[in-house]
Amino acid sequence: MVKLTIREERCKGCGLCVRACPKGILQISSTKINQKGYHPAEMTDAASCIACASCARTCPDVCIEIEK
């Protein structure tokens, strides 16, 4: 079981994690918006996450934490 947390208030919606994810299960939310006005990233299919941490590694704001 993988627990992936995104700090939505720190996310700038840059999209680097979406590009990096080999499973294609990250997207920039079209509904959520944070205090700074950014649309944060969100996971679309938690069950498919393999905890490769590509997203966490590429996140320029170090917003992503992964536990397994």
């Binding site: 680097l16 905890a51 966490a56 590694r57 934490e65």
Partner: protein, 247 residues
């Protein structure tokens, strides 16, 4: 539950002021993790530049000094020669290191100063709004090369790693990138190696990291990664240009 990935305590919890998608954030993390993994978290002293990373002293969780524009290598020389057992590093952009600081970095390498420089190359002046840098590519449009850099007017970009590798005092010079996961992993390895050499008392080490500037390149963060791969790598090939240990 086991931790797979967690933010290192070698970074403070201050939110980065960098633009969305700016790779400064990735590189800060690599530097911080490398320092922590080498057990030097409370024995590191960093020198911040003038540039987008001017506030680096707010992000690295260690003692830091602010240097004037380009002079970080001189400041680091002063620090390391005062505190030889600390891990001393400079973190500099291309305007800072290759333009106004060109003399300082060359002499630090020539003198085999025992500190490590992390050199962020994004081919532009970010903080001041996108002016041409010594690393700007021929044809690249910036606010001070509005018609595209014209080599017949102001020459060609500087390849810092190759230049510094010619100094006998340079111990380890490498160029890496952070535009995708495999390269991020290689970048971290190079940075860690550069720090390791410092701990072993070897000479001057520098890691040049190709980096994006979506805002001043005028593209979104993903396009910027592609631009880096397609345009910067041909000009600035990745690899190790000097390693006195030959490993």
């Amino acid at each position: 539950m086991a931790t797979v990935f967690k933010k290192t305590s070698m970074l403070t919890d201050a939110p980065f002021h960098y633009c969305p998608g700016c790779t400064h954030g990735i590189i800060h993390r690599l530097v911080a993790e490398a320092i922590e993994e080498l057990g030097m978290a409370d024995r590191a002293v960093g020198v911040a530049p003038v540039g987008c990373a001017v506030f680096a002293y707010n992000y690295f969780n260690c003692d830091m000094q602010e240097a004037s524009h380009g002079r970080a290598p001189a400041v680091a020389t002063g620090i390391k020669r005062t505190l030889p057992d600390r891990l001393v590093f400079t973190y500099q952009g291309d305007g800072d290191l290759a333009s106004i600081g060109a003399a300082e970095i060359n002499h630090a390498a020539a003198r085999a100063e025992k500190f490590t420089t992390i050199f962020i190359n994004n081919a532009i002046y970010g903080m001041t709004g996108g002016q041409m840098a010594p690393t700007t590519l021929v044809g690249q449009k910036t606010t001070t090369s509005p018609y595209g850099r014209d080599s017949s007017h102001c020459g060609f970009p500087i390849r810092v790693s190759e230049m510094l590798a010619t100094h006998e005092g340079a111990y380890y010079i490498a160029r890496v990138s952070v535009h995708d996961t495999p390269n991020i992993i290689k970048a971290k390895a190079a940075i860690k190696k550069a720090f390791q050499y410092q701990l072993e008392g070897k000479g001057f080490c520098l890691v040049e990291v190709l980096s994006t500037c979506p805002t001043n390149w005028g593209m979104n963060p993903i396009e910027a990664l592609d631009w880096l791969k397609e345009n910067m790598i041909p000009q600035y090939p990745l690899g190790v240009f000097k390693d006195k240990e030959g490993k």
